[in-house]
Each structure stands twice: as structure tokens, then as C-alpha cells.
């Protein structure tokens, strides 16, 4: 039986970019099922996404990126997918890297694979320097707490296998999901790996990740991550 691969695309007011993003993913040789999660958009995201032939979940209210992505994991769990990939609806992530992300999951090297823009020989989109400083801090924080090497902890371009799909379907962080999910995965005994990807600057819309330069934001994310180190393991699942 061929492996069932799901690509989860969270989208909030991405009418301008969603069609191209979905088409790119559908053209991937992995032949994945594409699930767009429209996070209560006010624009035409839902209608446009539906016309692309992707499966589209429309959330009745805006849950934020974490709640939207978790919807995807719940779908993946309910339909018995073997691998779930996550890719932003804004077109920042290049579907050409889907195979590279999936590979470590398929050959059993890792349970969670993160596409990192800082490992790539090619430069691509690297974000502003202040943002990179924030990213570097979280990289250091996560490494210090968990030993996990995640050079691009805020990257929403990732893949995970069956066990994590079921864990994330039951529990997925909602405040600062990208870095938090790494810590959650680690605490659940998952192996985290990275692969180099080249990212593009976003064509449309605004980033859902708050300003990584604001000290207030940095403190909030840090506290959220620290709290994951003391939470009872059972809150994440069996």
C-alpha cells in the first residue's frame, strides 16, 4: 500500500497567494493530499482554495495558526495518514523541498523534520537581521533546554510521522506554535531533524508570527517554552 501523505496548508486571508501555493504542492511528485485550513478568513481564501481542487476546511472562527494547523493534524489522524507536512499558505515555502522534508521521516531517521533556511548553501530569503537575532536566541534556548538542534525554530515548513500526527491531533500549542511544538515533540520522545530549504519572501499578506524584535514578544515566547519544560507529560497525550 502506498504511503498516505498529507500537506496541511494553514491560510488566513491569503486569497492572493493560496491558489499558486496549492497548485505547486499538487504538482509535487509525492502526490500528496492537500488540505487547506482556512482560518476564518474574511477574504476569498476559501472559495479560491476550493477551486484549486484541494480539500478545504473552513474554520467558523479565527483560531490562530496553532488551531488551524491542529485541525490539519486531526484530519490526518482521522484519515490514517502516514506523514503530515505543514507549509504556509503565503507562498514562502517552496514545494520542491517536500521530498527532502519527508525523506528522514520515511526512512525512520526522524519523527519531526524542520525545513531550515539557515542550513542552505543558497541564501534565499533570510528575514531581517533583528528577526534573525530573535531566531538565534530561540535556537540557543531550545538547544539549552532540550539538546535539540533547531537552527530555524520559527519555520512552519515541517513534516512529521504517524506518532506525532496523533500527538499533535490531541495537543498542539496555540500561542507560539512553531517553537513550542519542537519542545512538545522533544518531551514526547520524538527525534527532531532539520533539512536545508530556501525560502522566498512572502508575496502577499502579513506574517502571522509577531514581531520577533519586540522584547515583550521574546519574553512571552521564552516563558511559553520554559513552561513546556515543567508541564506534566500527560497533558500532551499518552
Amino acid at each position: 500500500m502506498p504511503l498516505k501523505i498529507l500537506v496541511i496548508i494553514p491560510a488566513y486571508n491569503e486569497a492572493g497567494a493560496i491558489a499558486r501555493t496549492v497548485r505547486e504542492v499538487l504538482a509535487s511528485p509525492l502526490a500528496p493530499v492537500v488540505l487547506v485550513v482556512d482560518d476564518g478568513s474574511q477574504d476569498e481564501t476559501f472559495e479560491i482554495a476550493r477551486r484549486t481542487g484541494a480539500r478545504v476546511v473552513r474554520l467558523p472562527v479565527n483560531l490562530g495558526i496553532g488551531g488551524a494547523v491542529q485541525t490539519g493534524y486531526r484530519y490526518a489522524a482521522a484519515h490514517g495518514f502516514d506523514v503530515a507536512l505543514q507549509l504556509d499558505g503565503d507562498g514562502q515555502h517552496d514545494a520542491a523541498y517536500l521530498r527532502a522534508l519527508v525523506e528522514p521521516v520515511l526512512n525512520g531517521q526522524a519523527d519531526l523534520v524542520i525545513g531550515s533556511r539557515f542550513l542552505s548553501a543558497k541564501e534565499g530569503f533570510q528575514s531581517s537581521w533583528s528577526r534573525r537575532l530573535g531566531i538565534r536566541f530561540f535556537r540557543w534556548l531550545i538547544a539549552g533546554l532540550t539538546g535539540v538542534r533547531a537552527t530555524d525554530p520559527t519555520s512552519g515548513f515541517r513534516a512529521c510521522g504517524k506518532r506525532l500526527i496523533h500527538i499533535f491531533a490531541g495537543y498542539y500549542p496555540s500561542d507560539f506554535p512553531e517553537p513550542e511544538a519542537i519542545v512538545v515533540a522533544h518531551r514526547m520522545g520524538a527525534r527532531v531533524a532539520e533539512v536545508p530549504v530556501v525560502m522566498r519572501p512572502r508575496r502577499e499578506g502579513v506574517s502571522s508570527i509577531g514581531t520577533l524584535k519586540s522584547p515583550y514578544y521574546m519574553i512571552k515566547v521564552t516563558v511559553a517554552i520554559l513552561l513546556h519544560m515543567i508541564k506534566q507529560r500527560k497533558v500532551y497525550g499518552p
Binding site: 485550513v37 480539500r55 478545504v56 476546511v57 473552513r58 474554520l59 467558523p60 472562527v61 483560531l63 488551531g67 491542529q70 485541525t71 486531526r74 484530519y75 482521522a78 496555540s174
Partner: protein
């Protein structure tokens, strides 16, 4: 003496008000219980103020009134924390429900397309 009467009336009023809210199902037991408990405690302390004096002395408060303020503050901290817990619970349920509705709608659409 009039102060303890005032305190009794206040505690009694809160208690009756909470009971009335429960009678009208405006407060359900789960959320009313803590209020009932503290209102009842208030009535008891208003009826037997000597308990306040002895507790206050036991904990070493200079004045019983300080102890009263301290106890009230503690009560409200507890109640508001409880409120936040309920809020989070509600929030989590809302999110779950929104996800479920979205997923069910997709399943319905898929079924419709199939027929």
C-alpha cells in the same frame, strides 16, 4: 455591634443572591459552588466574630481588620484564578468545536460530491 450586623447583611445578601441566581439557572452549580462556599463562610464569620479575633491573633495580625482585608483579598485572588481556569476550559472547548465544525463541513461536502 453595628459593623458585625453590616457584615452579616452583606454576606447574607451575597449568599441569597447566589442562591437566587442558581434558582434561575443563571449560575450553574459548578461555577456557583465557590461563591456559595465563601458567602456561607462570610455569614458564619459575621455571626461568630470571635472566630475572626482568634484567627487574627493566631496568625499574628496587629489588628483583626487587617486579617479581614487579608482574608477577603485571598478570597478574591482565589475566585479570579478559578474564573481564569473556567475561561481557559471554555476557550479550549470553543477551539475544539470550531475545528470539529470545519472538519465535519468538509466531510459533508466530500460525501455530497461523491453522490
Amino acid at each position: 455591634m453595628s459593623i458585625s450586623l453590616l457584615a452579616f447583611l452583606l454576606a447574607f445578601f451575597v449568599f441569597i443572591f447566589v442562591v437566587e441566581l442558581i434558582r434561575r439557572e443563571r449560575l450553574t452549580f459548578k461555577y456557583a459552588f465557590a461563591w456559595l462556599f465563601f458567602a456561607l463562610a462570610g455569614i458564619l464569620f459575621a455571626l461568630f466574630p470571635q472566630w475572626i479575633f482568634s484567627l487574627s491573633a493566631f496568625f499574628g495580625f496587629a489588628l483583626p481588620s487587617n486579617f479581614i482585608f487579608f482574608a477577603l483579598l485571598g478570597t478574591f485572588i482565589f475566585l479570579s484564578l478559578l474564573l481564569t481556569v473556567f475561561l481557559c476550559q471554555q476557550n479550549k472547548r470553543n477551539d475544539r468545536m470550531a475545528q470539529r465544525i470545519g472538519l465535519l463541513e468538509l466531510e459533508i461536502e466530500t460525501l455530497k460530491d461523491r453522490t
